[in-house]
């Protein structure tokens, strides 16, 4: 059991680098200067002090390794985090992305010296265009939200080109990710929220009433964040397009649709894809990702710079960068997150067409299996077949036992499972959004189902156990209000002396 020494050791394991610093220690070696020393510039320009830690290499490795153990991760835990597609990240992806010919090339090298990299980019462009049935892809956006911004800037440029400056309103369903309205505003639009009908589809009457001369477009996630395929989707895209609007597709949930339907065939004008979701690039604890923007015929000339095109000249193939005619410009200084693109490239080539198609089949079967097995224990707000994820509600537990979705989530941690997405989408009370992905086995799903049923029973028999969960993590629940009220955002010297 616990002892004062044990608590002290626990605390010390969390000590920050600056508090471990000892003058004179070094964590790296550098070569000696091998050229004649020149005069340093005026001392006015030189800093007096550089307050960085002085720690040895072994201490650094042990420190970071120890704190890494406080994380849940795909490599270590089932991670059914809805709308995030936490699938297994194949190791070959990382190996290929770090090959020296990929990791040691400079973004401003002449195209002729990076033909292999450009071919990787070109292949990924082609595959995404084919998978989504669109007209062209630009891989430079560095995250899903960045792809959204690019797509909405393209919509803006399209309307301005046609002299329709009054098209300012973007419709966004009430179930959408928060990035959608935030991106629309950054692209200069105003947002109007669109309700869902009682089956979780877009409310067509509300949509018809909302479209008009000031309609810029619609941003919609397919399948929706309820995990449902909108049965009205063809009507939705037609109504928006007939009214002169652009249809934006948030591709966060593309993992449900691979080989089953192409978004281009459904009337989308522009979409983004999250390579860190559908195409298995690791999430990295919150990035890096990549959010390619993929355009249909109406918007393809507005894609950001740059694209890679393939030319054949006398049997010799060359790849080169180009910028579309009416491009919205640059989304970043360089050509996007190439290291992430190389991983997605590896994944697509590993699986091939048949493998890509089977992803969605397995993802959807896994989600529906969980839906079927857990609908007796948790409320199911929409009683219909789901796609790659299923949204439950803990409102029955809340009403009957005073146990919230948060309590259920935290108790799952005790059983070694990462919590589902909670309280999202906003339109489902006490929402628990479960996305198993295709990379989990039936055995893992059955274990998860047992755990969830047990937690539901515990909610009735011992609600206190859930309120106090998690019990075995290095920290119990955190005081988030305190963090926001008294922001402590950086290390400071502990003895009151200023830096």
């Amino acid at each position: 059991m616990t002892s004062p020494l044990l608590s002290q050791l626990q605390q010390e394991s969390r000590k920050l680098l600056m508090d471990r610093s000892v003058e004179g220690r070094v964590g790296a070696t550098l070569p000696d200067l091998d050229v004649p020393e020149c005069e340093l510039p005026s001392t006015d320009l030189i800093r007096d002090d550089l307050p960085l830690p002085e720690v040895s290499e072994g201490e650094i490795v042990r420190y970071f390794t120890q704190i890494s153990q406080y994380n849940f991760s795909i490599d270590n835990n089932f991670y059914p985090l809805g709308s995030c597609t936490m699938k297994y990240n194949p190791k070959l992806n990382d190996l290929i992305a770090s090959m020296p010919g990929f990791s040691n090339i400079h973004p401003l090298q002449n195209d002729a010296t990076v033909q292999g990299a450009l071919q990787v980019v070109w292949e990924v462009q082609e595959y995404l265009t084919e998978i989504t049935g669109m007209a062209g892809t630009c891989l430079t956006p560095m995250a899903g939200a960045d792809g959204e911004l690019a797509g909405m800037l393209m919509a803006r440029a399209y309307h301005l080109d046609r002299g329709e400056d009054q098209r300012k309103v973007v419709l966004i369903p009430d179930s959408a990710h928060g990035t959608n309205p935030a991106s629309a505003v950054m692209a200069g639009f105003t947002v109007k929220t669109l309700p869902s009908d009682n089956e979780g589809n877009t409310d067509l009457d509300a949509l018809r009433e909302s479209v008009g001369e000031n309609l810029a477009g619609l941003m919609i996630t397919l399948p929706s964040t309820l995990g449902l395929f909108d049965r009205n989707i063809l009507d939705v895209t037609r109504i928006v397009r007939d009214a002169g609007g652009i249809v934006y597709g948030d591709g966060a949930n593309l993992n449900a649709l691979l080989g089953r339907v192409k978004m281009g065939d459904l009337g989308f004008d522009v979409i983004h894809s999250n390579l860190h979701k559908t195409f298995s690039t690791p999430h990295g604890g919150g990035g890096p990702g990549a959010g390619p923007v993929i355009a249909g015929p109406r918007l393809v000339d507005y894609l950001p710079s740059s694209l890679v095109c393939r030319e054949e000249d006398g049997g010799e193939v060359r790849f080169k960068q180009s910028t579309p005619e009416k491009s919205i410009g640059r989304m970043g200084a360089f050509q996007g997150n190439f290291g992430v693109l190389a991983r997605a490239f590896t994944y697509i080539r590993s699986l091939g067409g048949e493998g890509i198609r089977s992803i969605s089949d397995d993802a959807v079967i896994n989600a529906n299996y969980i839906l079927e097995k857990l609908k007796g224990s948790f409320d199911l707000p929409y009683e219909r077949v789901c796609m790659h994820e299923v949204v439950f509600s803990a409102r029955n537990l809340k009403n009957n036992c005073g146990v919230s979705a948060l309590d259920v989530a935290k108790r799952l941690i005790d059983y070694g499972v990462h919590p589902p997405t909670m309280y999202f989408p906003l339109i489902v009370e006490e929402a628990l959004m479960v996305e198993p992905t295709e990379t989990e086995s039936l055995e893992t799903l059955n274990t998860f189902i047992d755990i969830m049923r047990t937690i539901s029973e515990e909610a009735h028999s011992n609600p206190e156990l859930l309120h106090e969960a998690p019990h075995f993590t290095p920290n119990s629940r955190l005081d988030e209000a305190r963090a926001a009220r008294y922001p402590d955002l950086r290390w400071r010297p502990s003895h009151g002396d200023s830096e």
């Binding site: 290929i96 919150g286 200084a333 959807v364 305190r482």
Partner: protein, 439 residues
């Protein structure tokens, strides 16, 4: 062959479909309109790991890479030594395969690293607060301009013409939609109007030279504008931090401190500012708090700025903090520490000056000056022939040359020298330039 990434077999699928009450998987997709369901998918066939490694090796070998060649190319992405510890830590599954730390009890590793990152960025830049990371240096700069407009409630942004043109292009993409005016200004002739939200300066500037920051800072502040500085973090190993000359917002590209060039990404954007602006910052911020047992712990905080809470009223749409890359820079800064950062900066400084001293003695070549005339690890050379031709000739000798900046200055070549370039490399570059000049 079945895929190694999907464990369920045909038998499992059948069992699960039985449980669901479906005859076949087709039934699960019946909400998709029939006329567009099950399209052709024209993709290549699956490859085994063995074949794919060979194919990727072949593509990788088709690139001319730094290390195989020596490189003098910088201009926003830099070839620096990265200690082995960095990739060893960053490739740990616990860091690499975790999600955004929304559940703090199972994310203390990621969160503590972010707090370390924020702390070290504050220490390096001298600023009060930093966020957990942005996409890259250029988008950090664009977000700083948007934030300056929010803070000052003004709608015009001035940017010094010695800033990276690539960064200026990104800024232009960001400011058009919200209707912010962008004005390119020259250091020697600035008059800021009252409606200017900020003056943006790159330090050292795009051509490698330090700007006279105190003067520029006074000009900005006298006009009621903020000073936004896009700084090179490696230069901060020896040069004054931006806090010394009154910067209000500091942004930077973090690639140079521990991140491979990787053909342009993933990188991490650094974003720091004065305490009073903290609630107007974009991006993730991690704070220290207590758990229910009174133990210290870390958590995402000040989330009332962010898209998942504030939706259309958020300070930005950004969700990522590029956590894995911020981890790499954190480990790098820990390894380098106080002594190493100073040493890297000095190695760059001395080697760049040695290279410049050799090149300025070659007939036909001269060193151009801008800013206050002091350069760090990059400098601009005027060449006797177009830099494009020079770079081609260098390439034939196993040298990746500099950036052709003849669009901005006639026949100008921007060269970069770091600790990766040995004396022999530098002398070989000078020798080759001399041969080119003579022929």
């Amino acid at each position: 062959m079945p895929s190694p990434f999907t464990p369920n077999t045909e038998e499992h699928r059948k069992k699960m479909l039985d449980a669901i009450g479906m005859d076949s998987v087709e039934g699960l997709f019946s909400d998709i309109p029939e006329e567009v369901r099950n399209p052709d998918l024209n993709l290549p066939k699956a490859m085994s790991e063995l074949d794919l490694r060979a194919y990727a090796s072949e593509l990788s070998a088709r690139n001319v890479s730094a290390g195989e060649y020596t490189s003098f190319l910088g201009a926003g992405s830099y070839w620096h030594h990265i200690p082995a510890v960095v990739s060893s830590i960053a490739s740990r599954g616990e860091f690499m395969t975790a999600y955004t730390p929304y559940q703090p009890e199972v994310s203390q590793g990621t969160l503590q690293v972010a707090y370390e990152f924020q702390s070290m960025i504050c220490q390096l830049t001298g600023m009060d607060v930093a966020n957990a990371g942005m996409y890259d240096g250029s988008t950090s700069l664009a977000e700083a301009a948007l934030m300056a407009c929010r803070v000052t409630r003004k709608n015009k942004v001035a940017i010094l013409d010695s800033t990276s043109p690539l960064y200026t292009e990104v800024l232009d993409t960001y400011v058009q939609a919200p209707g912010i005016a962008l004005e390119l200004v020259k250091a020697h002739n600035i008059s800021l109007e009252e409606d200017t939200a900020c003056l943006i300066v790159q330090q050292p500037n795009f051509f490698g030279y330090l700007e006279d920051m105190q003067t520029l800072s006074n000009i900005a502040h006298d006009a009621g504008a903020l000073l936004v500085v896009s700084v090179d973090p490696v230069s901060l190993g020896m040069f004054n931090p931006p806090s010394e000359y009154g910067a209000d917002i500091v942004v930077a590209e973090g690639q140079g401190i521990g991140v491979p060039m990787s053909y342009g990404g993933p990188y991490v954007g650094i974003f720091a500012c004065r305490q009073e602006f903290v609630r107007q910052m974009p991006g993730r911020i991690v704070g220290k708090t207590l758990d229910t047992h009174g133990k210290e712990a870390y958590v995402l905080t000040l989330q009332a700025r962010e898209q998942h809470i504030r939706r259309e009223h958020a300070t930005s749409n950004i969700c990522t903090s590029v956590a894995l890359i911020s981890l790499m820079t954190t480990v790098y800064l820990a390894c380098m520490g106080k002594q190493g950062m100073r040493k890297v900066a000095e190695l760059c400084y001395h080697k760049a000056h040695y290279a410049a001293s050799l090149i300025e003695n070659i007939p036909g070549f001269s060193i151009l000056e801008s800013g206050n005339g002091v350069f760090f690890r990059e400098f601009t050379v005027r060449c006797p022939i177009p830099p494009e031709e020079i770079n081609q000739l260098l390439l034939e000798k196993g040298i990746i040359g500099g950036l052709d900046v003849s669009n901005y200055l006639e026949n100008a070549l921007l060269l970069c020298v770091t600790e990766m370039n040995s004396r022999e490399d530098i002398e070989n570059l000078a020798k080759t330039l001399r041969e080119i000049g003579e022929s």
